[in-house]
Amino acid sequence: MDSQTSQPFIQIRDLRKTYVMGRNKVHALDGVDLDIEFGSLTVVMGPSGSGKSTLLYLLGGLDRLTSGRIHVDGQALEQMDENALAVYRRRVVGFIFQSFNLMPTLTALDNVAFPMRFSGIAPKARRKKAFELLKQVGLEKRALHKPTELSGGQQQRVAVARALVNDPKLILADEPTGNLDTASGFAIMQLLSDLHRAGRTVLVVTHDPRMLQFATNVIYLLDGKTVSQAEYEAASTFSQPQEITEGNS
């Protein structure tokens, strides 16, 4: 498994992320080891505050780890400087957020095309590519609509299209259905599954069990540590009420 000859697409070793808040230290990730194969669809499950988002942000190069290592596609993220990380985010990763994070003043088309402004692609080619992607998520008729003129599900589909714009190998989705109704949420899940079947590696954080039918593997997180399904289920029977009171963020 840890042979040098066939390294997995993602290899995480003893990953720790500690937030220091005044005197308190929060161990958001507390020694995570993971191997994720290329072309897999991984569902990350865990109660609120278990470190799911932290894991995804670290994988996406959006934050710095405290210790350990993360290798993605043969690149060591912990050794990268700011610029290298930016290039990594641009070339390797497509990120999908729970809250869409669309630019409110731009049309769907321009939102999808937006990342290409940073990668030096000519405007015409940008629009063409963006339109193709909107078509792929079934929104070509909404291309010139602003986010406020779109439903939540449609906005998230725009965000998915945007995540695909630089043709990333790795798709990271942090509770992409969290703000959506059941039907639109399922549409997004199918979309992610399509991406997986098209050969991309997908990691999805979700509470929705319907996602499991598309998954090739599942990771369970508890208090910043990976646990087995059995441990997770045992714990979640106790933590269920807690999850409701805390909400899911």
Binding site: L62, D63, E82, A86, V87, F118, S119
Partner: protein, 441 residues
């Protein structure tokens, strides 16, 4: 990131916050307009002042007067210059023909022309009209060496002829006219002979008159210099009149000439030649030194005026910094997103710097437009109010002059002010940790 993408993104970002950008830019508009208007005014005043300086038209000219000094003058050149003793140990170095030769032999000197004034009064008559010129004798038969422009006739002086200045030619008056008659029609004098009456008082108190006939050969165009008030004649004529006034011969070898006009071959040599003449013990003054003095005064004025405008711009800069800081707070999530989709720190930095420079640029454009229009309006006002009064050759007009370099400078400066005020907020934006920015509410 490509430059056009950067610029279009900056334009988009400014465009979607038009109201706030405009409000912030107004500060820059005011500051830039103040800089442009005030500096234009200073430049305009300077141009006016220098153009109205007497005799400033000729930058190769050096006026030399006799040198006065205390104590004995050591004549370094074998005593060729006459030194006469005044009371109280004052020494005067006279401008004798020998001194003229010596000055003429200095390198860079082209002409040395002695001058002398008519020592008494002279009334000029033509028909029933009278005129009271100041008569100036010049030691040359060609007035063109002074660079004077001719209105009519010729600049060649012979004995018994005169070239008259612009004012003189227009200041004939009729002694028999009644009050309110206005100025009589001015005669066309070129080629005409006028009578000049010289007057002096004898020892017994009786008045003696001497009438001389002088033919006017030329009239000068307006020079805006002392020449406008002169009637130029040959030095030998004027010397003869002065001898008549004095009743005795004048010994130039002893008394010298009251003034020399030295012409340098090149304006660049003027200062050097003047220095050498001063070292010889004479007093040389150049229009250049006057111009330099005036220029340095106006440079100070420009800097002061510019400084007032710059303070206004500084206030505007604080406004820009404030707007950009607010913008970064409001757009924190947007910054996080830009980073998440692959913008580098430098991309974010240049976008925000570009936006604040853009505000400065927009404000600068508005400011130079308003400043320039303001200057022109001032000129129109000055023209309508001041030109209605008769000009006495030195109009003393309040005018603004806006050179292109000032407009460009003001625009660049305003843009720089924007850029610099955006520096701190932009660096903060660029160095935000993406995840922190994305989580910002």
């Amino acid at each position: 990131m490509r430059l056009i993408d950067l610029l279009s993104l900056i334009a988009d970002n400014l465009g979607r916050r038009k109201g706030r950008v405009a409000l912030t830019a107004i500060g820059v508009v005011i500051g830039t307009a103040a800089v442009v208007l005030l500096v234009s005014l200073a430049i305009g005043l300077q141009q006016n002042a220098t153009s109205q300086l007497w005799g400033i038209d000729d930058l190769t000219r050096i006026d030399v007067s006799p040198g006065y000094s205390e104590g004995p003058v050591i004549s370094g050149r074998g005593g060729v210059v006459a030194v006469s003793e005044l009371g109280g140990g004052m020494q005067v170095k006279n401008l004798t023909p020998a001194a003229i030769d010596e000055i003429a032999s200095l390198p860079g000197v082209e002409h040395v022309i002695p001058r002398d004034y008519l020592w008494g009064g002279g009334t000029m008559r033509y028909g029933r009209l009278e005129n009271y010129p100041s008569i100036m004798g010049v030691g040359t038969n060609d007035l063109s060496v002074f660079g004077y422009q001719l209105r009519e006739g010729s600049l060649q002086l012979e004995r018994g002829t005169a070239v008259i200045g612009h004012w003189i030619a227009q200041n004939w008056y009729d002694p028999k006219a009644r009050p309110g008659d206005g100025q009589p029609e001015q005669p066309d004098l070129v080629g005409k002979t006028v009578t000049v009456t010289l007057m002096k008082w004898a020892e017994d108190g009786t008045m003696i008159e001497k009438k001389v006939q002088v033919r006017v050969v030329g009239i000068l165009a307006e020079q805006r210099s002392e020449a406008d008030g002169w009637m130029f004649m040959r030095l030998d004529d004027v010397t003869a009149y002065n001898e008549w006034f004095q009743g005795k011969r004048i010994n130039r070898n002893k008394d010298g000439y009251p003034m020399l006009v030295v012409k340098a071959s090149d304006p660049d040599k003027v200062i050097e030649v003047a220095e050498q003449i001063n070292n010889m013990g004479f007093m040389a003054s150049t229009p250049q030194s006057v111009v330099e003095g005036i220029n340095s005064f106006f440079t100070v004025l420009q800097i002061t005026f510019g400084g007032v405008g710059a303070i206004a711009l500084l206030v505007a800069a604080i406004g820009i910094a404030n707007t950009m800081t607010m913008a970064i707070l409001e757009r924190t999530r947007e910054i996080g997103l830009m980073k998440a989709i692959g913008a580098t720190n430098r991309d974010v930095l240049t976008i925000f710097l570009g936006e604040s420079a853009g505000i400065g640029f927009i404000g600068g454009l508005g400011g130079i437009a308003i400043g320039w229009v303001g200057g022109e309006l001032l000129n129109i006002l000055a023209r309508t109010y001041l030109s209605s009064q008769p000009s006495y050759g030195m109009g003393g007009q309040l005018t603004a002059s806006t050179p292109t370099w000032l407009l460009l400078f003001a625009l660049v400066f305003a843009t720089l002010v924007g850029l610099i005020s955006g520096l701190y907020p932009s660096v903060r934006a660029a160095t935000l940790v993406p995840v922190t920015a994305l989580k910002y509410e």
